[in-house]
């Protein structure tokens, strides 16, 4: 498949000059998404970091047709674009060219406020790929908890205080939720593993019907790590099995990457300021709970792969 040298021939569809934080992994993920195909794309973003930083009037970093309307409705907005495309093509009002439709939203616009619209669009079978760039909190508004925030993480609405040690609840398994919609393709990916990610975007674009990819995008601001570590910390999320890389293709689950050695979760947690309080005496149980949760999920995932193979 693809090598970086081959990919380097593709035109750069996301320009520089956007205003994401230095070291943000969202534009890294977006660049990889846009490199995955030569078919013309239309991109839709909900409100969020990506939208706000890439389209500050009169500047846009996007070099393909792009639309944003509100926060909770990227899937619905793109449903409309896709249905408009079908209608206009059917009536011969636009050239008969293939166009791919991609929505790219954050965990706020996808896991939470946009969940209903996403569920609706997946159920209706629109020909679109929805990609969630999950940085595990509402970073755009200043690091508030989302249903993607891991248990124990400090955010500004789940602060680590004197009696509460960060978020009280485990994160939602959104990837499984969307898989339960019986769409043809669902996957988890990370920009740190570009080849795996681009491969998944290509598969998602190739299916007839809706596809969903959940992408972990480390956030230096919300997680608290030095910007240069952004890619590395993603790799460690994978090696600890906190963020397993897998895909579900027509009901068959498959691990696309198996870590050589499953690294302890605490090594990954330790590098992030949002988990700092967990290492204080008295909070050991939370780390144990988190590790147990990762182990359980990893076990379940492997069984799912065996069972559906």
């Amino acid at each position: 498949m693809t090598t970086l040298k081959e990919l380097s021939h593709k035109s750069e569809l996301l320009s520089g000059g956007h205003r994401a934080c230095a070291g943000c992994t969202e534009p890294v993920a977006v660049r990889q998404i846009l490199m995955a195909t030569d078919t013309p794309l239309v991109v839709c973003c909900p409100t969020g970091c990506l939208e706000v930083t890439t389209t500050i009037f009169p500047y846009t970093a996007w070099r393909m047709p792009w639309i944003h309307s509100a926060f909770e409705n990227a899937a619905a907005t793109l449903s409309g674009v896709e249905i408009g495309y079908k209608a206009l093509k059917k009536r011969g009002k636009i050239p008969d060219r293939e166009i791919k439709f991609i929505a790219i939203g954050g965990d706020g616009g996808t896991y939470d406020i946009g969940f209903q619209a996403l569920s609706g669009a997946m159920e209706r079978g629109h020909n679109m790929v929805y990609i969630c760039l999950d940085n595990e909190a509402y970073m755009n508004t200043g690091i508030q908890r989302s249903s993607a925030t891991p248990k124990g993480a400090h955010t500004t609405t789940s602060p680590a205080g004197k009696v509460v040690a960060g978020k009280r609840d485990f994160r939602k398994d959104l990837t499984a939720c969307i898989a339960a919609h019986n769409v043809p393709y669902v996957a988890q990916a990370i920009p740190s593993m570009w080849k795996d990610f681009i491969n998944k975007v290509q598969k998602a674009l190739a299916v007839d019907g809706p596809a969903f990819i959940n992408v972990l995008v480390p956030c230096r601001l919300g997680w608290g790590f030095p910007p240069e570590n952004a890619i590395e910390i993603g790799r460690e999320a994978v090696s600890s099995c906190f963020w397993p890389l897998y895909e579900m293709e027509n009901g068959k689950w498959r691990l696309t990457h198996k870590p050589k050695e499953k690294t302890p979760l605490k090594d990954w947690l330790k590098q992030q300021v949002r988990f700092k309080h967990l290492f204080k005496p008295g909070n050991e149980t939370i780390i144990e709970e988190l590790q147990a949760d990762v182990d359980r999920n990893w076990e379940r995932l492997q069984k799912l792969c065996e069972f559906t193979a």
């Binding site: 013309p40 239309v42 839709c44 939208e51 706000v52 389209t55 500050i56 009037f57 009169p58 846009t60 996007w62 070099r63 393909m64 047709p65 792009w66 639309i67 944003h68 309307s69 509100a70 909770e72 409705n73 899937a75 619905a76 907005t77 793109l78 449903s79 409309g80 674009v81 896709e82 249905i83 408009g84 495309y85 079908k86 209608a87 206009l88 059917k90 009536r91 009002k93 636009i94 060219r97 166009i99 209903q116 619209a117 569920s119 609706g120 159920e123 209706r124």
Partner: protein, 385 residues
Amino acid sequence: MRVAKTGNEAMAEAMRQINPDVVAAYPITPATEIVQIFSGFVADGVVNTEFVAVESEHSAMSACIGSCAAGARTMTSTSSQGLALMWEMLYIASGLRMPIVLAEVNRALSSPINIHCDHSDTMGARDCGWIQIYCENAQEAYDSLIQAVRIAEESLLPIMVSTDGFIISHGMESMEMLEDAQVKAFVGEYKPQHPLLDLDHPITIGAIDFTDYYFEHKRQTIEAMRNAKGIVAKIGQEFGEKFGRHYGFFEEYKLEDAEIAIVVLGSTAGTSKVVVDELRQKGIKAGLLRLRLFRPFPYQELANALSGIPCIAVMDRSDSLNSAGGPVFTEIRSALYDLEIRPKMVNYIYGLGGRNIDLSQIRSVYEDLATNKTDELVRYLGVRE
């Protein structure tokens, strides 16, 4: 062709004849039938519209925005809570200058939940940057929806055309329908200015404005709303010339020499005309102004039409809950502020939640005006006291 249609059937038939590229909608009483009938047209291949039954009104309007942005002629329908759920997207549709056409059926807003007619839903959305037309009957709903397509596309603003829930939406009436070909020719082809799907000119829709641009973009929309007045007038006139039924901003009924008059929207105007006729027979100079276009608000024309009438009652089928009257009242009153001789004005809130408004209630309003019972600013008609 004379037919018998309910308001909802009339609107659905107009949609069939318009044959839009896309309809995205979610059902809600009493507007449900409109998309229900229309989806039947789709299922039977009578239209080749792409119809998408989304999972909420919020998504309905979002999908309409997406589809309209793509370059497709787009319609939807809703009522009451549905319109309220769309509220956020209504502003976005107008801000992005999407000529979406919405067939609205007026229904009271919760709480308490109620499925019957009043105007609180569309009045709540009166400042969203949508053109608003209130119809008296099924005929007007049909005619207006056909005109709405052109009005929206020429002004590049979204438009809602509304009927009174159940009274018109579910009441069957005699009306004239146009031939399919006549409607097709009247609405013409939609030519979007900057379609998203123009791959050779990749555009960005929905960028964020900071303090340095937001005001300018809003100013443009304000101007578009001003221009829309002329467009509504022009298209109403063209429709009249072609099909014999003329439409303007409002209808003046025996207003010319009136000494007492009421201003009212929607189906109640028809009932009021019967009272005006009765009073005229008795030699009482009663008149009526039925406001059809509420957004943009034709304040100058209203002032001209109402000037010289000493006593005016404004009927509101919703209350602003501002303790100073309904939305139609406050705006009409403001429109008449610059008249040299200002009339006595009084506001009647009536018909909330579908409360029947009958001839005797309307007679009582004219009687109040005739006997100068205008000391109270706001009165409530038909509520148990």
